[in-house]
Symmetry: C2
Subunit: 446 residues, 2 copies
């Protein structure tokens, strides 16, 4: 993309009402625009990041054997009356009445609807196990929406639901989700630590939240520091293997890690040697639940078991906050100049800054780099505007592309351009072909 | 995908309340499930087609230089009060009140919000031309939703908006959209004829609808038969070229083609020789509008012109019914056994039917074809269930994959499998490698 033809409305001033860094940078970098309290438009740069995150979530869900569907945003109230949650949900549920005076609502979550789909289509244990998921806009009418997309009212979320014949099979589904979530977050450059949590309105007391450590997190967290050294990495996982998935869960949950909801000071002292105890803050970016037959029993979601008798299915639900992750990643990866995108989610793979727009050689070198990056299957952002170098650098630093190639007449005389890492700030001069090669090899591993 | 691990809840019976073929086939093929009147869940097969269509729309919009954003579904009412449409829109608008008693609505279209984004970010003519679009769920509270996804209440739509300095530039944007729409529909295997239309609640009297001919269409259409012979085909278009885009518009609109809203019997007789006159029915799958300063004036969307004076921008809006297209394509491409997907939008590229599941040779041959198709970058659907051949064929015909490879022990003795075209019904025996090659070459051109 050429910046002269893009729509990137960066702001010079820091917006007054934005309290945390991710919110400020998303507004300043022209990623979002507020349309009402807790409701945002995603401008081109923000939309690209949102899509990259969504794509990773899709890929990792499907790698684990989960099947995508798409449920509507507007749901009939009667499904929620069946489960008993319609009255219980409170004022966070956005209730709607249609032109025929039917009670509807903007879905805050989808346990009821997915259970309805299941009971309408599946009748035999032979069709299990089954995990369906979707990525759809949700609405929760928060009393005080704040922190930009981190706590918005309209938000984009992946929610998945497993259907299994018994508790053991449902536990495997739970473990499989834990593994796939770890891989999802690591691909985004995040360390998200699974912590014992509370069920809340979803229900069930077997549940983990995934927390990204950040000073601005809304949750207090208490954990054993050694957990920070564990990575899933690139190990191969067979998602059908009960033992492998269970093994990963054990590895990632045997050390103490809890949010303030479930923290117990005495347990913490017992379980963690003093030098490893950490108290910090974290941002919740996902949660997995096993809740057994909480929805399948009242809603009649049964299958015929191997003995011919009907059994209610064992279920769990599993959520990743897709729009929230955009903010969480920024909280975890930034400096005072702006965002620092991890390679896995960056909106453009590499910036190109032309120090002297209109100089025939500099223009040609930039065009050639642009074509070369595109031929590698990468998306460059070329700042081809007639602007001072300082302004161009400030914009690139603010929007946070992890790599930048700077092209100017002086370097070109020596046959070199400059490759700069946004994360370290280090620059290196090299011939343009070598810069292309370097960028290509960085992204071939992402 | 292996069918034994997929979720494809096909129905044997024809649903009683589905009046048209696409609605019946989408329910029977397990593509959708109704959740309330005019509100559907997209089951895995339906979701895949929806995503293929969305992807083509994105690619063709971006090829034309249009920039994706994403606006929220819930909008504040005050934007619509500014434009004067809040009271005018009537009961089709789904109105919502939030917990703080603020008036909101589920967006049926986005002229107001995009104008708000524009006026908040763009101030100079130098930032024009600009076309922003998004693909988002909309809601229109239809009195009598019917025909499945063709006339639902919650529907998925691409809507784009151009901002230009003057009428001439806005006309070029209009023509550019017409060209990109023609290419979009052709990639989906559709002929959609641009016809002079009426502005309706969007406004403006310079507008064309795109209609797919089908007996079940909701609009009467009158046109010159010679228009059916015109195709955009694979010609290269420079979307920046005013002349090229204008040339395509002229070519596609000089022959008489109108819906019953704008049809004039006397004009029709004057313009079209009797043997070329056609009266038929059509499904609207898109519409483009130029409406000048209808929104920019009341909402104050101005830019500083070259002479330093503020001028209201000239705008148009442009819509493609993404979810509706799923139904429209089926109406245009089916037979009595089921759907016949065009290659450009098929949910899976090729079916594999194993005539004797459990036979070691047949199983191995199917696995090898599965791996071969996957290696070509294609998605096969392998019916690996223990079912009668007749049932497997009926399912494949119903869900409409354009190509099927049938593998059985008898053929394998002679070293052949059978390749069948869903469209013609013709089958041909050939070695498995040749079948792979054939499928590969068919899709390399799509």
């Amino acid at each position: 993309m050429r910046l002269s033809r893009y729509f990137l409305p960066v702001l010079k001033e820091t917006p007054a009402d934005a309290q945390i860094a991710s919110h400020r940078f998303m507004l300043r970098a022209g990623m979002i625009r507020q349309q009402a309290a807790g409701i945002y438009s995603w401008l081109p740069l923000g939309f690209k990041v949102l899509k990259r995150i969504e794509q990773i979530v899709h890929e990792e869900q499907q790698r684990a054997g989960h099947i995508p569907v798409l449920m509507p945003t507007i749901q009939p109230a009667d499904l929620w009356q069946e489960s008993g949650r319609y009255n219980a949900y409170g004022p966070e549920m956005l209730r709607v009445r249609d032109r025929h005076d039917r009670d509807m609502l903007f879905g805050p979550t989808n346990e009821e609807m997915i259970t309805d789909i299941f009971r309408g289509s599946v009748s035999s244990y032979k069709d299990l196990p089954l995990t369906l998921y979707h990525i759809q806009w949700k609405f929760r009418d928060e009393m005080r929406p704040r922190f930009g997309v981190m706590r918005g009212r309209e938000f984009y979320m992946k929610d998945g639901y497993n259907f299994d014949l018994d508790e053991a099979a449902a536990h495997h589904a739970y473990n499989r989700h834990l593994v796939s979530y770890l891989r999802t977050y690591e691909r985004m450059g995040l360390q998200a630590i699974p912590m014992k949590a509370e069920g809340g309105p979803i229900g069930g007391d077997y549940t983990h939240e995934f927390l990204v450590l950040a000073d601005t997190g809304e949750s207090g967290v208490f954990y054993d520091a050694r957990i920070e050294d564990i990575r899933l990495g690139s190990r191969e996982i067979d998602y059908d293997s009960v033992d492998q998935c269970r093994g990963v869960l054990d590895e990632f949950t045997e050390l103490y890690a809890r949010t303030d909801d479930t923290h117990d000071a005495a347990d913490f002292e017992d379980a963690v040697p003093e030098e490893h105890r950490r108290e910090a803050r974290g941002i919740e970016v996902g949660q997995i639940f096993y809740f057994g037959t909480k929805y399948s029993e009242p809603m009649g979601a049964t299958v015929q078991g191997p003995d011919g008798k009907p059994v209610p299915v064992h279920m769990g639900s599993h959520g990743i906050g897709v729009s929230r992750l955009v903010g969480a990643i920024i909280e975890a990866s930034r400096d005072d100049k702006g965002i620092i995108w991890p390679e896995g989610v960056t909106p453009f793979h590499c910036g190109i800054v032309n120090l002297k727009q209109g100089d025939a050689e500099a223009d040609a070198a930039c065009e050639s780099l642009y074509a070369g990056l595109t031929a590698l299957g990468l998306e460059p952002l070329y700042d081809d505007r007639n602007e001072r170098a300082g302004g161009k650098f400030a914009t690139m630093d603010l929007i946070g592309l992890p790599w930048r190639i700077t092209v100017g007449p002086r370097g070109l005389k020596n046959g070199v351009v400059e490759l700069t890492s946004r994360r370290t700030g280090e620059s290196e001069e090299m011939p343009p072909e070598q810069a292309l090669e370097r960028i290509g090899s960085i992204y071939s591993g992402v």
